[in-house]
């Protein structure tokens, strides 16, 4: 603290010469700009400028090894459009879009329903609430990479715990991550497992906001638990639900680390069956081909989708306020 006061000394002289002559409101304006200077530079240079740059790069056949980058207009977008029309087996881009839609459409509702059920049960009980809450929460704070490798071990065809258990009950063992049909769902299960605790906490906070008197009044009027849930809990929980729908949709749209860590060589296999848009961005830009322009165009498409989701959210939330 003393150090910080010393640091002010070089400014004191010029401050007395110039700033102190200003009126108090103007002095405040001066300091507001001084305080915001570094954050403003940061947001302009590290966030906004690279965004514009990504847009720009998507119009170039950008290759980091080339001396000069060639402007190709909308060719990258045309290439994405062509790739999307090919069959998923041969076109990783097509597979990536297909799978990403699957992750969102299956994963998001499943996670929402599961976490809401857990939160409702947690609000039902009186003891050990903190205990359960921290247990559900542990996977969320664990590194996705560690979690992914633990599940890869559990999913092992011969010696993994899941198949050992299946065999113990004389059930047929499964290929899980090695199967084209099951791999996507095996990865999805891990992602849902890991994210559950977060959604539970958001729902619990939302449930706490609902006044108990509403339920008591409904009870007196003879409404059943199910009716109370449908007529009180769900409508009043709407802000939490909308918030989580948007947040989880965006996070499933951005799936990357679990797929990289849970497929062999991180290729989104077997045969493109688990690959995602962001994994393609990573592979195309930083793989052997270094197609950075094409990758940048993919991120622009991703950005457009996320923007749409956010705008829909803003529409929904402002309506619920009216």
């Amino acid at each position: 603290m003393i150090l910080l006061e010393w640091l002010q000394y070089p400014f004191v002289w010029s401050y007395q010469q110039t700033v102190e002559k200003l009126s108090l409101p103007k002095q405040k304006i001066f300091w507001a700009y001084v305080f915001l200077f570094i954050p403003l530079i940061f947001f302009l240079y590290i966030r906004i400028y690279p965004t514009i740059q990504a847009f720009g790069m998507s119009f170039y056949d950008w290759n980091p090894l080339a001396v000069e980058q060639e402007f190709i207009g909308f060719d990258n977008y045309a290439e994405i459009f062509e790739d999307v029309q090919k069959p998923a087996l041969t076109s990783p881009t097509r597979a990536a879009f297909e799978n990403t839609v699957k992750y969102v459409v299956i994963g998001m509702p499943l996670q929402l329903v599961l976490s809401l059920s857990i939160a409702l049960m947690l609000s039902e009980i009186r003891r050990f609430v903190d205990f359960y809450r921290v247990i559900f929460f542990l996977p969320f704070v664990t590194s996705t990479i560690a979690v992914a490798w633990v599940f890869r071990w559990l999913y092992q065809p011969q010696h993994g715990l899941f198949n050992v258990v299946l065999a113990a009950f004389s059930l047929p063992t499964q290929d899980f991550l090695d199967s084209r049909g099951q791999a996507l769902f095996s990865i999805l299960a891990v992602v849902i497992w890991q994210g559950l605790g977060f959604a539970v906490i958001i729902f619990l906070a939302g449930l706490k906001q609902i006044p108990r008197t509403y339920y008591e009044a409904a009870e007196v009027d003879g409404s059943s638990r199910w009716q109370s849930f449908w007529n009180i809990t769900l409508p009043l929980l709407n802000p939490s639900i909308v918030y989580l729908v948007v947040l989880q949709t965006i996070s499933f749209l951005r799936m990357f680390a679990p797929v990289l860590a849970m497929t062999s060589q991180g290729d989104g296999g077997p045969l493109n069956s688990t690959t995602t848009v962001v994994l393609r961005v990573f592979r195309e830009a930083f793989g052997t081909r270094s197609k950075m322009g094409y990758s940048a165009a993919l991120t622009v498409v991703l950005f457009a989708v996320i923007l749409m989701v956010t705008i829909i959210q803003l529409r929904l939330t402002t309506r619920s306020v009216d």
Binding site: F42, A54, P64, T144, W149, T310
Partner: protein
């Protein structure tokens, strides 16, 4: 108010029956909840237990499905710690997470303070500019960031440096927004009184607003620390030197190199996960508060 009172409107014989029905229902619901929650709790814990159990088995025993190793060994731990750069990855993760957290705590608070307590031309525009960055997915920025890091404005290269790993996270829009919300509750009269006493504008921030905002800063810091500790995609891209990798990047590298050595992979995973889990269990209250406050991951 007594909840049973309005029930007097009902016919007398109806009331006791519905209430006792309710009570019975509640007991059943509770029992059911405890049962299901315990089962779900088990599925949350078993993968961790299995991970730790495998890490104490030797190469021959890992394929046997017993929960408790028959000949528990710490050889795996010795091997992973001495033969890999894992201690170094730990240090790297720690340095990056501490660096960004201190920076975020300071700059997010400062910017939040300005947006909460000052009126100046362009305030709305600058605030919207900060917020708009929330809508940009990190994935869109990694390619330009990488090009910037290879040929940076300051220094020779940011690839394989701490600054290179940390720079995207040194100020966060969510943090600025959170601190602004929190600091709006600091009374203006308090600040004006301090101004009359000759406290400088920075002094107001440092000596009055910061101490009053410690709970929010604490939540933001813990949350930010966890986010940076687990950050993956950017550290993966900006590091190629084994000695500059962070823990998740190193773990991914190490595990893909040791395909079938599950006892070593699970040891690496245990080493990277368990200390953090202990911290989380100790600080769970603050972390959960922080989540409800900020509500965003990473």
């Amino acid at each position: 108010m007594d909840a049973a009172q309005p029930a007097m409107v009902n016919t007398p014989e109806q009331v006791p029956q519905t209430i006792s029905n309710r009570k019975r229902q509640t007991v059943i619901y509770r029992a059911f909840s405890y049962l299901v929650l315990s089962l779900i709790g088990l599925t949350m814990v078993i993968p961790f237990v299995w991970m730790i159990s495998t890490s104490f088995k030797d190469a021959t025993e890992i394929y046997r499905p017993n929960f408790f190793p028959q000949n528990p060994t710490t050889d795996n731990y010795e091997e992973v710690i001495t033969d890999t750069a894992l201690p170094r990855w730990y240090l790297n993760s720690l340095i990056v997470a501490v660096m960004t957290t201190i920076s975020v705590a300071f700059f997010d608070s400062l910017a939040g303070f300005v947006f909460a307590k000052y009126q100046f031309p362009g305030k709305r525009a600058i605030f919207l500019l900060f917020l708009s960055s929330l809508m940009i997915p990190t994935e869109m920025l990694i390619i330009p960031w990488f090009i910037m890091s290879v040929d940076p404005p300051i220094g020779a290269t940011w690839v394989d440096t701490y600054w290179g790993i940390a720079f995207p996270g040194v100020i966060t829009a969510t943090g600025v927004f959170l601190m602004r919300q929190f600091m709006q509750s600091v009374p203006d009269e308090l600040l004006d009184a301090a101004r009359i006493d000759g406290v400088s504008e920075f002094g107001l921030f440092w000596r009055i607003v910061i101490p009053l905002s410690l709970p929010a800063i604490g939540a933001l810091s813990i949350f930010n620390f966890l986010g940076n500790w687990n950050a993956f995609i950017w550290p993966l891209i900006v590091t190629s030197d084994l000695n500059m990798m962070t823990l998740p990047v190193g773990l991914q590298f190490f595990s893909s190199e040791n395909g079938a050595d599950w006892h070593l992979i699970m040891t690496g995973a245990s080493l990277s996960v368990v200390p953090l889990l202990i911290i989380v269990i100790v600080f769970q209250r603050y972390i959960i508060e922080g989540i409800t406050l900020t509500g965003l991951k990473g």
